[in-house]
């Protein structure tokens, strides 16, 4: 039984660990914090939930744990700006391997823009548009009511759209 559970777990981990780390990293903007939350989420997941649910439930449960940890950690640490400066260098280095200078600049600009949003907005936008989850699924993952998800998603979308339009406008004004 234990072996079978471990096998299911390993399969689940192989298929979801990378996107999951990426999601945490994009929301936190800090590799070390992402590593911590990543591991802590899996420990909590294994502690409380035996691997008996179907894959979708397991996934949404894992994201729910991560959501709580992200919000909790972010409440305690206010060092994101400082961390992002350091991260930027690492990011540039990793991007340099495969891209050209203008491409890197665009990517960095996108990162900066995304970081202007609140964590909650980032989470909702990422889950909805980068991962493609429906409002029901997001509500399950974040323990926010479905209607509230819709409203918050609308606000986050509007906020990001406004920022992007403002940036476009400023770029248009540049000589």
């Amino acid at each position: 039984m234990e072996e079978q559970t471990q096998k299911i777990w390993e399969e689940f981990y192989h298929s979801h660990s990378r996107p999951f780390w990426f999601y945490i990293y994009k929301i936190c903007g800090d590799r070390n914090m992402a590593d911590d939350i990543f591991q802590e989420s899996f420990y909590k997941f294994l502690k409380t939930k035996p691997v008996i649910l179907n894959e979708n439930h397991m996934k949404s449960y894992l994201y729910k744990i991560a959501f709580r940890l992200i919000i909790d950690k972010k409440r305690r640490t206010k060092v994101e700006k400082r961390a992002w400066k350091k991260e930027k260098e690492d990011y540039k280095r990793s991007m340099n391997k495969g891209g050209h200078e203008p491409e890197i600049l665009i990517s960095l600009d996108m990162e900066d823009t995304f970081k202007l949003l609140k964590h909650r907005s980032r989470i909702l936008l990422w889950l909805a548009y980068a991962e493609g989850y429906s409002c029901n699924e997001i509500a399950e993952m974040t323990e926010i009511k479905k209607n509230s998800v819709k409203v918050q998603l609308f606000r986050a979308r509007k906020e990001l759209a406004d920022i992007l339009r403002q940036k476009e406008y400023e770029r248009g004004k540049e000589p």
């Binding site: 471990q6 777990w9 390993e10 981990y13 192989h14 660990s17 990378r18 780390w21 990426f22 990293y25 994009k26 990543f38 591991q39 899996f42 420990y43 294994l46 502690k47 990011y91 990793s94 991007m95 391997k97 495969g98 891209g99 491409e103 665009i106 990517s107 996108m110 990162e111 995304f114 936008l125 990422w126 548009y129 980068a130 493609g132 819709k150 409203v151 609308f154 979308r157 509007k158 990001l160 759209a161 992007l164």
Partner: protein, 170 residues
Amino acid sequence: MRKKTCHLEKEVINGLKKEKLSPEIKKHISECPLCKDIVFIHRWMSQFKNRSWNAEILEKTLPDAETIWNRAQARRTDKELVKKALRPLIYPRILSYGILIVGIVILFFSSIKKIGDIIDSNSGAGPVLNSLSKIIAQFFPFFLIPMVIILISMLFCVFIAIFERRKKTV
């Protein structure tokens, strides 16, 4: 108030996911500011994800499944061991709390005479308390005894708390 949802939102999102938007949906998008935002943000987010995905995630080394599994198991066993180690302390703790409560009750009853004096004897409660104190005083003549009991049980509680903490940190 501006509307926060559109009845065709689902269709628009599904179309975007499949990268196939029907002419009707396209027409709707051009007219609906809400769906226009959805398309705009959806495209931006997809681009944002795709741009950083390859570069960042491929070079990232994550712990393997077995390590995570083993660590989670080790954590669970650690917690179980702490629980097991602290189990013998449950009874002394209950005992010390019991003694503490008994001590406080005894202290209360031994000084009931004074309470009775304080309360006006005309109110009716005073004489009752006074007669009660006379009975109790025969059994507990000394004020010191309950105080000593309380002190000992309090020390015992403190000792257990320190011991528990030490065990947890170990």
